[in-house]
Point group: none
Chain length 252, copies 2
DNA sequence: TCGGGTGTTGCATCATGTGCAACGGGCATT
DNA sequence: AATGCCCGTTGCACATGATGCAACACCCGA
């Protein structure tokens, strides 16, 4: 809508892929170098972009600070975290937390199976929306027309033979998930990985987040993983209760 | 330099303080509502801003995804290398760079004392984790329970009489290192070799890598090597600054 | 039904961002 | 040293695109 800002913001994802020099930025934006320079300078003044020693541009520290604040404002995450860790201790597998925002499903927290060391590895990355259990849970809560619109617009990459093949199958799956209140991904993203997930609901009953447990089937079979379902649902419900309880405490 | 972009970007820190509606944004920016609307819409299209159900605007999760992607594509080694070379030129000794990954500490770069050329022979090899200065620095940054778990699982080979003998001593050493912000290895790996090291930190303050200077005590005594500590720390800090993209943001 | 509070749209004005062309500085090649 | 090339940078004339206004649409409470 605003051409100048639009161009400036387009620089950010571009730089997220790696450092670039002025010429590269200008070229990939399709504008004159001098224009790119002024945009970069403005971004720089706001600290969103950093100029490293070889004069190439990178995303700057301010962006990380903003991202931090953005994620802190998602208070579901804070509330959920201890529950996720607890669940991880009980079952030993990887636990994910995700939210839906602007046609994307994003992981916002993750507890690794073995040791809680390398935790933040993939957080922030968009989820395979057509197959992931958490994605199904979040989309299943939308209204029927919303679901249809989104389902039509998606691509259906065949990660494996069990990936959701098309919009029809996806909508059907969403209906099932909506009905039963939990979801699975049985080898739909990676052949050997299965997941079980459950929704976190706010005070009004709407799904605000979704969580799942993932495990490779060399460790546990799909059936065994399903026996964890009650535990997963109990955890999700515990988070929901705590979230609903505190969510009304609004501050100025 | 670019008024439009400048205004648009000023919205972000504003929203970082908490959600705001159109009127508030327009007022605090000092522009007409319609102008603020168009700016917000542009930010929205790029996912940097999210419109919650009460129509107020919030920072979007995309920011988080963006920052995450940038971090993953950041190459500490690339950034550090020139600094390591520079340090090597100043002190003449061997300089190492290491990271912690999967319960191991790995050298990822090395500048030799004599020949500043490639001696990649040992890069990629695991470090003597119980004695090396860089290993102490990297492990010292983990949480207390993590440190304990790891310390228990390690072997404590007695390379020399001054090697760390057991888990208790190691944990104690890590506490010291954590406290003082630098580390040494005085003949703990090879009788005649001493090292001084300092940590490289990311934007969030966590240690992402560690560097050290090593020299045989036939060339310099341990005390002489310690006089290099300020230089080593300054170099590590310079790398940290560049890695985290610290920049001076201008105020309105 | 009204009134005050939002967010939204179309439009005329001109401030602003734009591309051009010329400059300068670093670096490698000769 | 001298040369040429490749970047980043600057000043400027032009017109594009951002701006504020005023009117409209909507929701809620009175």
């Amino acid at each position: 809508m605003s051409q100048t800002v639009d161009r400036a913001l387009s620089i950010l994802p571009l730089l997220a892929q790696g450092p670039a020099d002025l010429g590269q930025v200008a070229e990939r934006l399709g504008v004159h170098k001098s224009t790119a320079l002024r945009l970069l300078r403005t971004l720089h003044e706001h600290g969103l972009v950093y100029r490293q020693e070889d004069q190439r541009y990178r995303l700057g520290a301010r962006l990380f600070a903003l991202a931090q604040e953005a994620v802190e404002n998602l208070d579901v995450r804070e509330i959920a975290h201890t529950h996720l860790v607890e669940l991880n201790e009980q079952c030993g597998h990887t636990v994910h937390l995700a939210v839906y925002e602007e046609n994307e499903v994003l992981y916002i927290d993750k507890v690794e199976s073995r040791y809680p060391v390398r935790m933040y590895s993939r957080i922030g990355k968009p989820v395979a929306i057509t197959v992931a259990a958490v994605a199904k849970l979040l989309l299943a809560d939308l209204t029927e027309p919303e679901r249809r619109v989104i389902a039509e617009r998606l691509d259906y990459p065949l990660y494996t033979s069990r990936s959701t093949p098309n919009a029809g199958a996806f909508l059907k799956e969403l209906a099932v998930v909506r009905e039963q209140g939990w979801a699975t991904d049985l080898g739909g993203h990676e052949e050997s990985i299965n997941c079980v997930g459950a929704p976190v609901r706010g005070a009004d009953g709407r799904v605000v987040a979704a969580m799942s447990v993932s495990a490779p089937n060399v460790v546990v079979t799909a059936e065994e993983l399903l026996t964890l379902l009650p535990l997963v649902r109990r955890t999700a419900d515990a988070i929901s209760r705590e979230y609903s309880g505190t969510t009304h405490a609004k501050k100025a």
